[in-house]
Amino acid sequence: MPRKTYIAAVQEALAEEMRRDPQVLLIGEDVRIGVFAGTRGLHAEFGDKRVIDTPISELAVAGAGIGAAVTGLRPVVDLMFGTFMFLAFDQIANQAGAMRYMYGGQTNVPVVFMTQNGAGSSAGHHHSQSVHQFFMNMPQIKVVLPSTPYDVKGLLKSAIRDENPVIFLNSLSLGGKRGAVPDEEYLVPLGVADIKRAGNDVSICAVGSAVYTALSAANALAKEGIDAEVIDLRTLSPWDSDAVLESVRKTGRFVAVDESFPTCSAASEWAATVAERAFHDLKAPVQRVNNKDVPVPFSPVLEKAVLPSAEDVIAAVRRTLE
């Protein structure tokens, strides 16, 4: 299978869906140029009408995506960085996240909001945050955060075909990551986890960049004979709790790894769910590994210190083995 980068897989997904369905279009700031390369090259193929540069107006651009979606199009709205979504928060939460329900099912809202998630550019707090936890709280919003080129392509294609609003998060630090991506068409369904490493001693749950943190911890632990299972949820909402519970039933130990601020995080949700529903299988307390509970500092040495590390994960696993 050909090996492609994560961001090239994003491009492929967009291009394929735009070719397949003329109702799919792309709007956002500098989508022609494609600052993070996810949208690069699409303007050349699809032109001004389908690859639409906008003013710097996140709220209106998000709303325009919603309005287009409820009138027959399938827009992908590029919002560039996670924190910029805060400017569009009202439209996403109050409109996209409610219209179908509030209007008694009169409409579908097939819009995808795409952005970069997490740290990785050493650019300080405003460019280094994870935002998935906010959208997970919203009942009518789906949230996706893939970790591999294969997944990102297959999931983005599914997200575009989904009839509901989807927050599609690309892991900022994984843009250049390479992996096998078939040339043939495929889809990865939303809501299905993937076991990235099978193991019997402890279940580690992660998404996005944290999957690699988990994997590298698992590899280190393997050398000591500790056999960790790494579950990549891929979709955060709705999330595949069955896969996680099944794994915990096997291992009896659970560690959540999540690059985000800790309180009310995805890791909190996973840990709470496991504690609630797999309590009797647990041999040790659930453990969470998140960012340290501070804003993300600029200096690489500090940035690294606040992000979850393989050492943090190893320590958490050890705590489950005490």
């Binding site: 709303g63 329900y101 509030m102 008694g104």
Partner: protein, 327 residues
């Protein structure tokens, strides 16, 4: 005012829309005072000429987006007062199966894309509806109502600029009733005319007498033509008045506090759009008085039926809370 070029049937149509809104809102006010309606209701009385005149300039394919003060827009676009009333009662037979309520009525079948409890929240969505008309090279225009207060939200600014930058068929209708809740527009902004903001987006900004339904119709028609011709968005500022309070039952909020003088209120009521159009029609002898009267009777009867329908409709099943989440 003189509107000789507007055909009688259009005038009658507009008159009908106004009257239907008026009677609906009077009934809603009464029901609310009787404690029969949950939540908040914001009545449109005094502003009917705006929705009626504007929506008469639209086709069924054109879409509108509304506000928290949305009953008038739904009716003007052709909404069903039975399903509206049932929604206000929180009944399963309502437009949104009881999930929306007064501030969230929608009827996608007639291009009414929804009222909105967030001030300014519908404006960006309207840009999207315009985007999709433009994209599909359809004749459709997207129109959106919002208040003077909403014109101070960031969503107003971003939306008008975005629609202008992309040259979309969107018509922005600002209902300047001089108040955002209890704060007068004169204290919320240092300009006389919100229409003046259009220049900041390179689009036409037109001031209209929002009490004159036929002027609203003419101005909206021109904006619709512009939009259909690919000439982009227009901002229309309708100077209007709400003759009642911000929300029904606001006396409880206000607890004796005054925010609007009697003189001002009297002035506002003098510009009653229903009476003005009635007088115009009568003076010019355009529609026979008995026709207008039987129109009123018909509407009153339909309203009685709507209330009965709403009352008799069942409450939604509790399990329906899980419906309408995902498609």
């Amino acid at each position: 005012m003189d509107h000789r070029d507007i055909p009688i049937d259009v005038i009658l149509d507009i008159y009908t829309r106004i009257l239907r809104i008026r009677r609906f809102e009077e009934e809603v006010g009464k029901l609310f005072r009787q404690g029969q309606l949950p939540g908040f209701v914001h009545l449109y009385i005094g502003e009917e000429a705006v929705a009626a005149g504007v929506c008469a300039a639209l086709t069924d394919e054109d879409t509108i987006i509304s506000t928290h003060r949305g009953h008038g827009h739904v009716i003007a676009k052709g909404g069903d007062i039975k399903r509206m009333m049932a929604e206000l009662f929180g009944k399963a037979s309502g437009y949104c199966k009881g999930k929306g309520g007064s501030m969230h009525i929608a009827d996608f079948d007639i291009g009414m894309l929804g009222a909105c409890g967030i001030v300014g929240g519908g404006i960006p969505v309207a840009v999207g509806a315009g985007l999709s008309a433009w994209y599909s090279a359809s004749e459709r225009v997207s129109l959106c109502f919002f208040g003077d207060g909403a014109a101070n939200e960031g969503s107003f600014h971003e939306s008008l600029n975005l629609a202008s930058a992309l040259n979309l068929p969107v018509i922005f209708v600002c209902e300047n009733n001089q108040y955002g809740e209890f704060t007068p527009a004169s204290r919320a902004m240092n300009i006389e005319d919100i229409a003046a903001r259009a220049a900041g987006y390179g689009i036409p900004g037109i001031i209209a007498d929002g009490s004159d339904a036929l002027e609203m119709y003419r101005i909206a028609t021109a904006a619709v033509q512009r939009a259909r011709a690919g000439q982009g968005p227009t901002l229309i500022e309708a100077k209007t008045h709400r003759s009642g309070g911000h929300a029904e039952g606001e006396e409880a909020f206000l607890a004796g506090q005054q925010y609007r003088g009697e003189a001002e209120l009297a002035q506002a009521r003098a510009k009653d759009p229903l009476r003005l159009l009635h007088t115009y029609v009568a003076e010019k002898d355009l529609i026979p008085a008995d026709q207008l009267e039987s129109l009123d009777e018909g509407i009153t009867r339909a309203l009685r039926e709507a209330v009965a329908f709403a009352r008799e409709s069942p409450l939604p099943e509790v399990d329906s809370i899980y419906d309408d989440l995902w498609l």
